[in-house]
């Protein structure tokens, strides 16, 4: 095989792989005191205008429930985060209500904000997210 053919094949392979590969996405885990989250396949949030779904789970003691949300990067580079925790119907009864998180942080999901219970109560509670290694979170 000539060098020219080999070069063409290599370039074709690289092109095909570039097309076939999904945009860079990785699992991101954060904790807030005794609460932790794992988000699956979070897209890069470095560029203003970036948007990523946040699908994963919430863990607090024996409670493990699904969460759904979105993060997007604002023009100043800060990242706005909204997450819905589907805790209704779980035990203990003290956690038997859905709640939402609204935070602002950076591309690593290091963020500060509030969470609110969706039971008609006014006000919210402070939340501070810090990234952690996902290997620290066991399967629910």
């Amino acid at each position: 095989m000539s060098h020219r053919i080999a070069l063409c094949l290599c370039l074709s392979l690289l092109t095909l792989l570039g097309v076939g590969a999904p945009a860079a996405a990785k699992d991101v885990c954060v904790e807030d005191g005794t609460t932790s989250f794992r988000f699956k396949g979070v897209r890069s949030l470095k560029k203003p205008g970036s948007i990523s779904p946040l699908n994963g789970f919430f863990t607090n003691g024996s409670v493990h429930v699904p969460v759904t949300g979105t993060a997007f990067t604002r023009s100043d580079g800060s990242v706005a985060i909204g997450v819905y925790v589907h805790a209704g119907g779980t035990t203990p009864a003290s956690m038997d209500v859905d709640f939402v998180y609204d935070l602002v942080g950076d591309a690593s999901l290091s963020a500060t904000g509030v969470y609110r219970y969706l039971d008609g109560q006014l006000g919210g509670y402070e939340s501070i997210w810090a990234p952690i290694a996902c290997k620290m979170l066991a399967t629910p």
Partner: protein, 95 residues
Amino acid sequence: MTPRVRLGLVLSVLSMLGAALPAAAKDVCVSDNAHRLRFKGVKSLKKPGSISPLTGFFVNGDFVAPSTGTAIVRGDGSVLIGITVHGAALGGLPC
């Protein structure tokens, strides 16, 4: 290039592409009496620890609304599902 070399190259490309593609995802529809939900591109939920977005729509008669959610697989293989139906701006669910 011999046919054998060509075949080897084609197989290499196919296997590399297979590795680069995301896991198989399919549309899933469920029903709860009069309610119906269609989720687009649901990922496999067989392995503990699997997580899939649930993005789609909710139908009840003429009422159709977008829905978002997540499914997670627990260690015992059971699947937990949380869904939000975004119907408030559409007049809400008919009673």
